[in-house]
Subunit: 261 residues, 2 copies
DNA sequence: AAGTGGTCTAGACCACCAA
DNA sequence: TGGTGGTCTAGACCACTTA
């Protein structure tokens, strides 16, 4: 009666497990060190393997662990900070910032891409279905930081945006991708627009990022504006486990995060 | 022999399930509509409940579904875009942007907070342990968008940063929090620094965000610089399921994302 | 071939919400 | 009180890596 029943909520096992493991990682393990395998860890803590895995999954989500099938679970290094918003208003590929052109192709835009391209154009051009029939050049790029692929990007450039685009005759491959970027850079960039959200890796992106499909990723969507409207849209898929996106307005960079509870 | 064995990889059940459900959500369901419960869905698809849950978890991670214990699973509305980087270089609380001061307190900084505050100060002041002994004012804020709490923030202000801070005598509560912010705004802001990463909600943040502990969140860490160095640091915890962080340099806003595979 | 993490099952019980 | 999602178990088999 008088007892206030303060927090009688039983903490879930996996949550407690995660806390214990997290502290063990801080004190008793070095970066890169291999943990005991899941079956042994589960036995050691007296829980089912599924419960143990639930704790490991969260720690991996937080960038503390790295798990690879057939290999084992290792202690992850601190997340690498990748600059996303430092160079203000520039076309993709204008500065050597770790991006590598991979390939380029031409296709009709999906509904989602069309929607991204349509917004911001101001005039209500959605009346006719013309935009959907216009082909879109897609450029695939990859971003490498500290020897590791941290992001895969798809850039969509409507053929109508860039006049010189139809003259490109390079065969598929990096050369063609670079050619498309070069043409794009000829235009006057009026502004850009960026958003970040959580997603899960599509099969193709996952392969490029050396992760399993469905792995958590940070989706960075950028729209590039010219006087004519939205000239291009890119969707970059960053590994959420290993990356920290930085939007430093200056050269300064945050070195480490993790605010303990 | 001649058969190239093209992609003999069997797609995991939960992955296929997710695809099927995703398309069903697009075509046959309206926002807010309640899905059949997990046991029935599992039976309908002929899989174990755990497998069905794996698919639902991913869809929730992608912001397509919303699940509430004791209630059910509903179709989520499109993510709300919350502006994070629009107002350039301003102290927290300077513009009425949906943030509400909740409380303020004073405590010794944790090692992680200390680290964030130390970096960027230029001079090697880490020699003495003085900073660790200096109390830090912590301000709790909450951000509401469209009637929903989308973020919880903890702002750390070293007492040494702001001279007028020691004179504050307001009792705990919103009034005290606002008083601390007011003092902070008196300083000249030299610059700021921002990073975004994936995390899981601590118990206190989860409560504020109306989620379970461990829910996926986007951690936005901001450092505020004055001539004297890092004057304050804030860590904002955004609901990853419902939020899309926008860094628009202008008034333009992305309206919808989701690039289908 | 042996060992790892990834997937899947068929149950059980619990915490929470609404009627 | 009944129905929902959340947690947990003790198994099984599979895909992958390494030796």
């Amino acid at each position: 009666m008088g007892t206030t029943q303060l927090e009688s909520v039983p903490e879930p096992k996996y949550w407690h497990l995660k806390t214990v493991l997290s502290e063990a990682l801080d004190h008793d393990f070095a970066v890169g060190e291999i943990l005991p395998n899941e079956r042994e860890l589960a036995a050691r803590f007296g829980v089912a393997r599924a419960t143990l895995r639930q704790a490991l999954e969260q720690l991996e989500l937080e960038g503390r662990l790295q798990r690879r099938r057939g290999v084992g679970t290792t202690v992850a290094p601190p997340r690498v900070g990748v600059a996303v918003g430092s160079a203000r208003h520039s076309w993709p590929g204008e500065s050597a910032d770790g991006w590598e052109a991979v390939d380029a192709a031409e296709a009709l835009p999906t509904a989602a891409v069309l929607k991204l391209l349509a917004a911001g154009s101001g005039s209500a051009a959605s009346g006719s279905a013309s935009a959907a029939d216009q082909p879109v050049h897609t450029v695939r790029r990859t971003r490498v930081t500290e020897g590791q692929v941290v992001a895969a990007e798809l850039l969509y450039v409507p053929a109508a945006s860039v006049p010189g685009l139809s003259a490109i005759d390079a065969p598929a491959g990096p050369a063609r991708a670079r050619a498309v970027l070069r043409e794009l850079q000829r235009l006057a960039l009026d502004g850009q627009d960026r958003s970040v959200e959580l997603g899960s890796a599509r099969a193709d992106d996952a392969k490029e990022l050396d992760r399993l499909p469905g792995a958590p990723v940070l989706l960075v969507t950028t729209r590039y504006f010219t006087a004519g409207g939205t000239a291009a849209v890119s969707v970059a898929t960053y590994r959420a486990d290993t990356c920290r996106l930085t939007f430093g307005d200056e050269g300064v960079e945050i070195t480490e995060t993790r605010v303990a509870s």
